[in-house]
Point group: C2
Chain length 511, copies 2
Amino acid sequence: MEALKVLPIKPEPAITGFANFESERVLSALPEELKRFYVKIELPLLKRLPYLLRERELLYALLIKEEKNLCLIDLFPDKPQRVLGCAIDLGSTTIAFYIYDFISQQVVKEFSIENPQISIGQDILTRLHFAKKEENLKFIQEITLSAINEVLEREGGEEIYFVSLCGNTAMTHFLLGLPVNYLIVEPYVAVVKWIPLLKACELGLKINPKGRVFVFPLAGTYFGGDLIAGLYEVELKNKEGFSFYLDVGTNAEVVLGGRDFLLACAGAAGPALEGGIFECGMQAKAGAIEKFIFHPEKKRFEYQTIDGVKPVGFCGSAVIQLIAELFLRGFLTPEGKFERNRAKDFLFEKEEEIAFLLVSGEETQHGAPIYIKESEIKSFLRSKGAMYSILSLLCEKVGISFKEVEKFYVAGTFGNHIDIKSAVILGMLPEEALFRANPLGNAAGKGALKFLRKADYEEVKKIIDEITYIELNVEPRFMELLTGALIIPHVNMDLFPQVRKLLEEHICFKL
Amino acid sequence: MEALKVLPIKPEPAITGFANFESERVLSALPEELKRFYVKIELPLLKRLPYLLRERELLYALLIKEEKNLCLIDLFPDKPQRVLGCAIDLGSTTIAFYIYDFISQQVVKEFSIENPQISIGQDILTRLHFAKKEENLKFIQEITLSAINEVLEREGGEEIYFVSLCGNTAMTHFLLGLPVNYLIVEPYVAVVKWIPLLKACELGLKINPKGRVFVFPLAGTYFGGDLIAGLYEVELKNKEGFSFYLDVGTNAEVVLGGRDFLLACAGAAGPALEGGIFECGMQAKAGAIEKFIFHPEKKRFEYQTIDGVKPVGFCGSAVIQLIAELFLRGFLTPEGKFERNRAKDFLFEKEEEIAFLLVSGEETQHGAPIYIKESEIKSFLRSKGAMYSILSLLCEKVGISFKEVEKFYVAGTFGNHIDIKSAVILGMLPEEALFRANPLGNAAGKGALKFLRKADYEEVKKIIDEITYIELNVEPRFMELLTGALIIPHVNMDLFPQVRKLLEEHICFKL
């Protein structure tokens, strides 16, 4: 059932008798299917109960689903126009909001704001180190809460009775004001796994004071509530056969799931894929190149930018597509070196490194060229190799091959934009992903939203209980797998028969 | 298990790994038998967790048992000297307190104070009518809470983490500030049956702010939390065969219980038995006559008073004994009339009624005589007859005879002092009660105390769910039974063979 239910009820009149209680009149008027729950009625409502029950024959009951029971938190004499919930994906860069109306059972609004923590530092580690001091932790919690509260007050305030929120491990600690001092040093201890359902006032959220806040639990230091929300959204265990859940953000988190298990692994595959390591990389905003296409006749890279303005740099979603393009055009060797001969017109030296010119300074907003360096491609290969190796390792652990994987669910903003074909060509994803990839968009946000519609605490708990984690640094097999995967697409070309065929047919190799 | 548990725990050190949580380190250090529970850790404690866990290797966990889960509410670096609970029997005249130490598992103090509500009115009905106005209800709640808080602050304050409280239906409403307006008019509706476990701050009790308050549920307008606490104390269903639970206060509440059932009945048997209706009746304090014995040679009543001072009146516990004495000495006929001839030296006219002189004015503190009137005895006979008829009716309903009743548990202050033999002679209790009566003392207070030791929410819930109530005013059989029971001991002397034998042998009848 939903996190919150508004139900019309018609209590029986009070009659002379022994067991004559206002509370039981209300409870026995609830629909049959709710009677198996223990339904609490809170004291402030009890005090108003005799009067409310005599004001109207028909009342509207507002029930919140708690972890082990229901709670009747309000009774309205008239049908409320709106009773809102809010799902929040507290990302490190943006905070996504979904305003949901329990009356119309519709999402009424959906938008994002910038995470105010960016003022402290772009990357999470800076913020974590900042928050080591108690007053700084308080500060970071306060700016986070006040950014969220500003939205909540504007979008409904007292009309909002339930908030479902997910964030990665660091975000969750910041939000709750939990010390991060031991999260950032070995052995990287998070404070809490399961977060009990909170009352709005316990956290200081400016919704209805009778409301509740569900914060998605954490499954590990690198496995936060955003991932759990994503897994809750996708329900791997209810799918046919085996499937992968990939979330590529700052880290790459991968889960292989089947009916009875969730096998998880996380690696620092993210930064290289996100564009963070590239000198010319940038956030996905106006002026960011999203796509490069080499024009053989013009012998130059055509591109498209966000908002169609002059380019400033390229964003994360362009990286994979760009490197695949460089490779397919023969500018890049399988080892990730620039093909000195074929690429000679584009190569130049940049601070004692070799760089490949993509856009000349004359075309850019800032007048400086946009380029990619060989060392950056090397970093990328480590990331893409790590990703493939993680996928291989998980399959090996379960004893299946990629052929047996039904779906590759790709979450995260990155997942939304990833060019699956390019990723396969580069050997980041296996060929099976080509037709079985399923971009999820903001799976975390959707999972938080799903919790408003179907507040299944047990299901969420099951997910964190079922996850088995593979520690890469104690897996010698991972290093073996990685060695073969540092090549484009792979040392063993038998693993990529279609890519081999494509390469054989590809025009650039025929030139 | 106890409402509160203090446990030494030794959390495992944090090690590098995926699922590395301070919370899980604490939870997995709990003893095996607690692991089946869902153990909540509240946010304020989570914030201190990383530091506490690094302060000491051995910590003392403070767990509170809630309705559906446990809650870890504190961790102490050192073993606390005392961790207290307080059981409270909120009676309409006195409030009884039991201070219990969870560390030593001992009751450390036990005492009563006067209920401050007496300033509003001696009897409950006056207070209920007073409380119809919202500000008056607030006032009555405030004086009750502040009397309780004064004790709690003095006896432990922040050291007290759990309060278990019971009171009759009116007392419970006053305590919680629930409107009584519909409790005092037909059809007599109480606001609440089951009261959810409260946080100390929700009720405004001045114990540790992390503490909880359990208020015993109500089973009906005349069947309050005090009775439920008494039944919880006695555990009728766990006794061999059938037994009676009798609570005689302002009302007489009777429960017949067996393994599978609790059959309850309440009647206005109380006032007459409590001494309230007697002109010379008084509270049990200095100067109250507790016992009368007729001295045949001196032809006068000898007596003993509380504190041995000059008499002022007689208290409730003397009533039954006195009337039995009058009857056995032949001063009273089985119909409750004074035996005009034999009693002639004691009879005098009092406001057009016949009164029996017990103590002459020369012997009393106030100089006025102490006496009992014929009309008062008539009222008493109705009460005693009602009690016997209720017992008979309940047995008939279950289809058993008094012989099959194993025990007669007698609760209440009255139950403590009742002279069972006199009650049987008068036909208020069946002869079977003679050797099977079991005075319980303050069963309600003991039940509240038991809840500190064994916080069995489900058991308490079962009691209110299992009680079936017999409505006297819709039972024509009750009136039939009552008719026979208005005689001393009973119209049908075959029901009282031993009393018959006693009467035949008794000296006064041989005179």
